[in-house]
Symmetry: C2
Subunit: 135 residues, 2 copies
């Protein structure tokens, strides 16, 4: 597959407002957008840094994947997202190379991206998102 | 502080050669450098992706910090490194804003960078490296 760049790094947090303050006041980067992604039961906050982004993730439900991640491992880095040209093609290639897919078909992510996750068992313990920019 | 970009994302792996093959053959990105960093008891492998890098980390000792991380949490994302202009100044600023520092003074990292770590207790569970490019 052809990876263009690291689109974002997803970080699981308990308290989005408090974490936004940390990124803005200590690291000096500005939140340019907040968005709820119903499909993943999260509210997200985005920060542009160089040609990539930090995506903070707060769960909207105690049963959501981010709430469960925090319960198990605490707050911290949740996933890396790589931007690819052709998401369906990248998924077929990943599968043909023996990777375990969480999503066999693209679904809708934040910022209207099409996204799909690879299973961390196949990727050195790193939950890996492949994503394709809209349009 | 003034963050220029995400310099790299550090990923703890058990078997560097096997992981390099995964990044090269599946993700299609090329390792441009391997380097041992004695101070941190690791061998590293670097991949450039957009304006940032992936740094794979394999422990050179069963007592090293990466070996202990893997023992506790398994393979996976270990830290995020932000490039700053003035590392000593950034450390003083972080401390004045109440962050807990792991390194109060810069030390030597891979690729001749000066580096220092912030404690994940202060940074939403994310082990955070600040680094300054040499020269």
């Amino acid at each position: 597959m052809k990876i263009q760049k690291i689109e974002h790094i997803g970080i699981a947090v308990k308290d989005l407002k408090k974490s936004i303050r940390f990124y803005e006041e200590v690291l000096g980067v500005q939140c340019y957008k907040m968005e709820e992604v119903e499909d993943q039961q999260v509210t997200t906050a985005f920060f542009k840094i160089g040609d990539t982004k930090i995506e903070l993730l707060e769960s909207t439900s105690p049963e959501g994947p981010i709430a469960k991640f925090i319960e198990k491992r605490g707050e911290g880095i949740h996933h890396i997202a790589y931007a690819v040209d052709d998401l369906p093609g990248a998924l077929r290639e990943a599968e043909s190379k023996g990777l375990r897919l969480i999503d066999r078909e693209p679904r809708e992510g934040a910022e209207n991206f099409r996204i799909a996750f690879l299973h961390p068992k196949s990727t050195n313990g790193v939950l890996t998102e492949l994503c394709e920019k809209p349009g």
